[in-house]
């Protein structure tokens, strides 16, 4: 984020802290994509992710007077991950919507993937790849899942992940390593599900 953007964001935040919804909504527009994507990968359910994102923005606005500087992105991501955890706990307690619904992406509701210039075939392959990887992410326990999504899908640094999840750097490091190891093993077992160009090349010289 450029210096000008930072100044603008600071201004919007302080306006929102005065109760200015319009100012807050400008921040929503800036961050909604990221917030929704994090919720999407954690919840693995587009509708639940949308609800979580919306709830997170409402909570973020309600609590914005308590925001004391620092990274606004981290602030939002912390709220949305907590919202997702709450929802997952709630579902676990009262599994009215069964865990199967919860764990699998609805194929009919295939999300529109944001990616510019791709042919239909490439797009289809990419979508296929996304489904396999999402399935791998879903089998992770929530802490590891969140850490992996924040790090490898969202590209956050360890420090920011620690800030978002409230864990120490060491914990982030080990959660991430375990998550990556499990996803790797999953892909090794289910590699045939991946489109050819995404398949891990086995470069083990011993084989």
């Amino acid at each position: 984020m450029s210096g000008q953007n930072v100044a603008e964001e600071t201004e919007l935040i302080s306006a929102a802290q005065q109760g200015n919804v319009d100012a807050f909504n400008e921040l929503v527009l800036v961050y909604q994509q990221r917030v929704y994507n994090v919720a999407y990968h954690i919840m693995a359910d587009p509708a639940a992710a949308a609800d979580a994102a919306q709830d997170a923005f409402v909570s973020a606005f309600q609590a914005i007077s308590r925001f004391r500087g620092g990274s606004f992105r981290s602030y939002l991501l912390r709220i949305v991950t907590n919202t997702c955890y709450d929802e997952m706990r709630r579902r676990k307690r009262r599994p009215t919507a069964s865990f199967e619904d919860f764990g699998e992406l609805d194929e009919d509701a295939n999300p529109v993937l944001v990616n510019g210039h791709e042919g239909p075939e490439e797009l289809a392959e990419r979508q296929e790849m996304a489904e396999v990887i999402q399935a791998a992410i879903e089998m992770l326990p929530p802490d590891q899942r969140t850490t992996l999504v924040l790090s490898d899908v969202q590209g956050l640094a360890y420090e920011e992940i620690a800030e978002v999840t409230g864990a120490s750097l060491g914990t982030v490091k080990s959660r991430l390593a375990r998550a990556r190891g499990k996803v790797r093993d999953y892909l090794a077992e289910h590699g045939e599900l991946l489109p050819a160009r995404y398949r891990p090349r086995d470069e083990d010289p011993e084989r």
Binding site: V21, F24, N25, V28, L29, Q32, Q33, V35, Y36, N37, Y40, H41, P46, A50, A53, Q54, F57, V58, F61, Q62, P111, V112, L113, V114, N115, R126, Q127, M129, A130, I133, Q134, L148, S151, D152, V153, G155, Y158, K173, S174, L176, A177, R178, R180, G181, V183, R184, L187, A188, Y198, P200, R201, D202, E203, D204, P205, E206
Partner: protein, 297 residues
């Protein structure tokens, strides 16, 4: 996939952690140098690192998912949710209070209806039919208290009246639990005939008459019991308080009754009170149900 003989799961995890941190450039210089030495010497370790790198790269290739809609907050929603939030802080109290209010309204309704039925049963017809009802009513109603034991009915009323608070309290609970159809029928009939003489022998005077007096409450109690039951589980707790209230209200009612003419005359006032209390009880009951549901959510 590299599988290294003799490497325990724990060691493998530590190795993965090392490689994972190495990929992110998170190793201290000395650690990194040591790992790079090992990598240079160990092909399977290199393969392990490579598989991890591929995994991370695949994750990074996950396409961004488009937002299904804008998440901007409409102003009205924000103010509404703020209000809701504030009220939800008090929500723990809301449901029980509504339940209590429902019970109270139901109880008052029952008491008022009982009172009205008793009064019309005793002298209300005369009061209603004659403009000078104020004259005819005292004939029957105060008869009960003015120690003039003429007909059997009046005499038994006299028996029933003094201990009424306690006598009434007990049947309310029984009746609320289960409105026994046959009994209610009989009691209703006995209410219809101004003199409840047919069934009670004189010997059993006290008890049957108190039943007779209780009948309307019993009939009502059945209905309201249901309502209270549907509304909340906490109604059970509330139930305990009811008999006390019944006693109080009953006592009030009795105190009012002897003043017959004044109390009986405005029948429309009884009806209005019944309607008002009945509606209030229904509305409160519905609100209580919603409050409990919202609370559970």
């Amino acid at each position: 996939m590299a599988r290294r003989n003799g490497v325990t799961r724990r060691e493998r995890e530590r190795l993965t952690e090392l490689l994972s941190a190495y990929l992110d450039g998170q190793l201290a210089d000395s650690e990194r140098a040591r790992l790079e030495e090992r990598l240079a010497a160990d092909a399977s370790l290199r393969a392990e690192l490579e598989s991890l790198r591929q995994t991370v790269s695949l994750l990074g290739e996950l396409p961004k998912v488009a937002v299904p809609r804008n998440f901007i907050l409409p102003r009205a929603t924000v103010t509404a949710t703020r209000t809701v939030q504030r009220s939800s802080a008090r929500r723990p109290l809301l449901a029980p209070v509504l339940t209590a209010a429902t019970s109270l309204a139901t109880l008052l309704f029952g008491v008022v209806l009982t009172g009205e039925l008793v009064l019309t049963g005793l002298g209300g017809y005369a009061t209603l039919s004659e403009p000078g009802g104020a004259d005819s009513a005292p004939l029957s109603a105060p008869a009960a208290q003015t120690d003039t034991p003429t007909p059997a009915a009046v005499g038994s009323h006299q028996d029933a009246l003094p201990p009424s608070p306690t006598v009434e309290a007990a049947p309310t609970i029984v009746a609320a639990g289960d409105g026994n159809g046959e009994d209610d029928q009989g009691e209703r009939y006995s209410m219809d005939s101004p003199t409840p003489s047919p069934e009670p022998g004189l010997g059993g005077g006290g008890a049957p008459v108190s039943d007779t007096l209780q009948a309307p409450t019993g009939v009502l109690g059945g209905g309201e019991g249901e309502e209270a039951a549907t509304s909340t589980p906490a109604a059970v707790g509330e139930e305990a308080a009811e008999p006390v209230a019944v006693q109080d209200e009953g006592a009030l009612e009795r105190a009012r009754e002897p003043n017959g003419p004044a109390a009986i005359a405005p029948l429309w006032a009884w009806r209005a009170a019944e309607t008002g209390l009945g509606l209030a009880a229904l509305a409160l009951g519905a609100a209580a149900v919603f409050a409990w549901r919202a609370r559970r959510r």
